[in-house]
Structures are given as C-alpha cells and as structure tokens.
Amino acid sequence: MIQKILVANRGEIAIRVIRACHELGITTVAVYSDIDRLAQHVQLADEAYNIGPAPASESYLRGDNIIEVAKKSSADAIHPGYGFLSENPDFAREVENSGLIWIGPPPDAITSMGSKTEARAIMMKAGVPVVPGTPEGVEDDQEAKRLANEIGYPVLIKAAMGGGGKGMRVVSRESDLADSLEGARRESMSAFGSPIIYLEKFIERSRHIEFQVFADNYGNVVHFGERECSIQRRHQKVVEEAPSPVMTPELRSEMGEAAVAAAKACGYRNAGTVEFIVDQDRKYYFLEMNTRLQVEHPVTEMVTGVDLCKLQIRVASGEKLPYTQQDIKISGHAIEVRLYSEDSLNNFLPTTGRVRYLKPPDGFGIREDSGLREGGEISIHYDPMISKLIAWDHDREGAIKRMKRALNEYHITGVRTTIPFGLFVMENESFRKGDFDTSFVEREFDVNMLLEQEKSWEKIAALAAAWKRHEAVSNGNGTASNNSTKAINNEPGKGWKMLGREAGLR
C-alpha cells in the first residue's frame, strides 16, 4: 500500500488530493514555487519543499526537480492533479522509471489522447461517433481554406495538443479564417508549446456532455454517469452539473457504453473523462478524452457518493474497482460554479491582487474546494480559477436555489471574481428551465444586467464612503487617509452608540 504521496500541483486541486490522502491515512508531500511559500496547499500538507521560481516552467513543470523531491522525501507515488504535468506522458514515464507509482493513466494512453487528431482516429476505429473534421494537423493556410470549405462553415479551429479552450476559435466565414488561424496558432504555441491546429465542423447550439470513466489494472471499466458542461465563456467551462437536464436513462446507458468503449480502445487505466458534444437532435459525437481528474469531478462525487480522488489512489495502488456498473446510482442533483479571479463586469478580464477578506458560505448541501486564504496573493503566474463552489440537493431546482444562496453569502474582497456572473446564471430563465447550449453566454449574458445589480448598491456604498471620510475629518485627519481604524477606537463621536460599545469591548 502507498504510504506517502507527493502532490505535483498547487491550488484547490492540490488540496483536494491532500484531503483524499489524509482520509486514507497517507502522508502528503507538497511542492511549491517561491511565491507559493504561504499557499494553502503548503499548509495543509504534512511536508513541503520548494521547487523553484514562480514561473510554472521553472517550478511546477520541472518534472526532474519534482521527482528528486519525491525521492528525497521517500514518497511512494506522485499525484499530478490537473494541468501542469498531469497529461505529460514523458513525465509519467519518468515517474514510473524512477520506481514511483504514477497516479494516472498509462503514458501511452496519455500520448494517444493528447493528440486530438490521433484520439479521433482511435475512436472512429472503435466505432465511437466523432465530429466531422480534418484527420490531422493543418499547417498551410490555403489547405486550411480548402478543408474549411469542404467541412462547411462555421468551423472550429482547435489546438491539436490543446485543452481548456486555449487556442480555440470559431470561424463563421472564409474572410475571418486567416486572422483566426494566426491567433489560434499563437495561443496554442504559448499554452502547449506547439502551433499545430486542426479543423472541426462547428456544431451550432450543441451541448457539451462528458462521461466520467474509471478503469482498474484488471480490465474492469465503469462509468459514473455524465456531467453537463455547456455553460462556457471563451470555450472554458464555468458552470457544470450532474446529471444533465437533457439526459434520459436510455441515452445515459448508450453514451456511457460508448465512453467505456473509448476507454478500452486506448488501453486506459485510472480516472478519465470522455467528452461528447450533443446536438439538438441528441446525436452525440466524441470530442476528446481527458486523461486526468477533471476540474468538475465534484458534481459526480456529490450525486454518486463516490470519492473519485480516493478511488484514483486505490486503483493506482493495485486495488480492484469496488463497483460494477450496476452499483453506481445517481442520487439528487449537483451544480458547480467555478470562481475565477476575473471581472464579470468587464469582459471577464483576469484580475490579480491580494485576498483581503474571505468569508465563504457553508451549510447543508454546500461544498467548497478552494485554494484561497485571507491575505493570499492571486498572481499572473497561474490559472485564474481560484475556487469551486458546489451545491447539492434532491432536485435541480433545489440545487439552483441552494447555489444562489451560497453565492449571495460569499464575501471576498481584494480580487474581483465571477460570483456576480454565477448569480446571473442561477437566475437566468433558460438556465433554470435547462434549455441552453454552449452558446449560452453569447446569447443570454448581457453585462447591463450586472451593472443594474451594481447600481442597486451604489447608494449604500456612497453612504459608507462618506462616513469613512467623516470619521477621518472628525478625528482631525481629514486629509491623512490611513488611520481611520484608529479613529474608530478613539471615541467615535457620541452619535455612534454601537461603535462606542464595540470599542469598549476591545
């Protein structure tokens, strides 16, 4: 059995893995870059070691340093989380060659599925339906123009080595093709180190539905049902749920079988996700397979009751899957809202800064997987997804109401987050009816709705600001601006009776 695991990641997913380990009685080793010395994952782990400077390329992507720390700390295994080295087959191979257990799929399966074009070929061979598109990478712009016409506009440009929406562009007409190809290649190069892109038919008004699969070392493969991930902005998921509002038991078992077949076709082991797009006629197409634990795995955990991260560790240490397909039941409904450090009111621009106050929600049916701490710095170096809020209830309507309550309860200052956007989604009529697709944000979201909300708080904000100035003026500090706190403790004026009382208590 595994005694000690090195978690080769940071943020909420590192914490997720650390918690799973501790519940299994396994000691945890965190690694951190220079600017992450005080990050939550360092504090929750049993041990922690520095692996280099802030840029991921010099720390969290330095597989050699990480393996060295694993050996130095006598870890038995490495869990990569998602992102960073999680889908790097060379790293996975190096881990195994070093005599450590790799908590993830076989390196060859990562390689096959990492190439989106190769993955499509394998799936077609296995009889899993795929989206019409180019069988391999397209280098030449003229060739791309020809292929796009063959497929028919709108087409989708995708990074062959990509994921997470990066390097993706929808092109509606030929005249936009050249610019989009250029942008997609640049982004793909910067994100994945490869400019290779390919083309797919863009299926309009489709839904993104994915299946969680799990395979052990003994040929057993099961699925844990689907997740609906159609609410996306900039091709990145922002709200996910399980089950999908359009799923039927029949379609679930059909698509689930296809997902299991996909996993078998690439010799899969451990946790994986088979992504499909589903068109308006509920026809489904293989999109890609993600060879890791997904960001949105908690919604599946909430409706199946199964701790997927613990299952990853158990399967990696050689245990058989403790479930057959019949054992896996869906109960209730779960929704996840991802919190990004982005400005919902300003085109989702990433924001950076220091978390000043943090009062997250809690209570029945609410879970937060967070990497946040008060005083923690959100930097440009890492992903702007900083936390995930998950709500469960008996039914979808209850889960939506609970999520709304939790988002309203959430208090975070210092960085802007997508909480206002999350509230917009929970209150949106189409979302509540389950009637949406991947174009939801473009079609439904209008920043003016949030600006109106904002406006409703303006008066109280004005009142508070005026009071603060008044306090400073009353205490003879009308122009100095940094000692209003002192002002409060120093006899805040007769009228402020509660303040006086509070001061007395201190």
Binding site: G183, R186, E187, S190, R234, D343, N346, N347, L349, P350, T351, T352, R356, Y357, K359, I380, Y382, D383, N408, Y410, H411, T413, R416, T417, I419, P420, L423, Q453, E454, K455, W457, E458, K459, I460, A461, A462, L463, A464, A465, A466, W467, K468, R469, H470, V473, S474, G478, A480, S481, S484, T485, I488, G493, K494, G495, W496, K497, M498, L499, E502
Partner: protein
C-alpha cells in the same frame, strides 16, 4: 441626482459630496444621532468595525450588509466593496466642493481618459490605430495574460489619441495603455 443641494446643512461642517460611477450623492451627518441625510432622505446608519483594518458591518434602516472601505491612495478616495460589487469613490467636503467649483468653474467640454492595464501581461497586438474612432466596448488592444488573449476595450466613445505601449511590451497592472479623446 447631479449637484442639487438636498440637505440644508450640506454647506456645514458635516456635509460631503460622494462621486461614484459618475453619479453624485450628498451626505450629511448630524453628530449626536444615528440619522444621516443622503440626497435629502434621512436614514438610520449603524456602522461597526467587523474585522481589522477596514471591514464593517453596516445596518442601514435595519438592512444588514458587510462593507469593506479601503483607502485608495489620495485623500477622500475610497475603494468600497459590498455584496460582490466594487466601487471607486471620491468624497469631498462641502468646503472642498466650493473650492473646486471656484477653480474649475470655467472648465468644461473635452476630456481625455487614460485606459490602464487591468492586469500584468504582454501587449500582443493593436487592433486599432492612433486617430481611430471608437465606440464603447470596442476592442483596442490584445493583451496576453494567464495564457489567454484578452481584448482591452474602450470604456467610452471618442478617438484614440495616444498609445503608451507598443506591441511586444510587458506591462504591469495599472500601467497606462492608451488615451481616448472625447
């Protein structure tokens, strides 16, 4: 709600003007009571420091909210956060307001707005050029941050009078990017 005098004692010791998102509020305090006038309406205000240094529990006419009021560099400038929204506010005393009116009385018409980088990143590309006319919400520059390309958009209509950065520049948060003349 612009520049009307609601409160009889606005010109007194405890009158303030608050600028917030282009709107002006007049607030006056009567030391000795919890009653505050805002644009002439009396409200009952109860503010307590909830957490050091500047998070407050505020009860306004019974309604309970949590508000962070952060000093924002210049005197009277506060960054206010409540209920998921962020506000930049400027509070001036009645006397300061009179002084400004005296100085800037004749000033009107054209203004320049400087658009600053909302986060650190890399300038990838200009979408428009100096002299181009823009509409609010129109993209002007592409910036890369956190591995994603982001369009920096014009907040107001006008023409682009000057770029402070060029393609390929790495910029810090708050660094001026371009100016719009309107």
């Amino acid at each position: 709600m612009n520049n009307k005098n609601y409160s009889s004692d606005f010109h007194g010791e405890s009158g303030y003007k608050v600028e917030i998102n282009g709107n002006t509020y007049e607030v006056s305090f009567d030391n000795g009571k919890n009653i505050v006038q805002i644009n002439g309406d009396p409200v009952n205000l109860d503010i307590c420091l909830e957490q050091e240094p500047d998070l407050y529990s505020v009860i306004v006419d019974g309604k309970s909210v949590l508000i962070a009021i952060e000093d924002n560099g210049a005197p009277g400038n506060y960054h206010v956060h409540t209920s998921g929204y962020d506000f930049e506010t400027e509070v001036i005393t009645a006397r300061e307001a009179q002084l400004r009116e005296f100085i800037h009385g004749a000033d009107s018409g054209k203004k320049e707005s400087i658009i600053k980088a909302p986060m650190p990143g890399l300038i990838v590309k200009y979408i428009l050029n100096e002299g181009d006319e823009v509409q609010p919400g129109q993209g002007v520059i592409i910036m890369e941050a956190m591995k994603m390309e982001n369009e920096i958009k014009a907040p107001t209509a006008g023409s682009i009078s000057h770029f402070h950065v060029k393609e390929g520049d790495a910029v810090e948060k708050g660094q001026p990017l371009f100016e719009i003349n309107n």
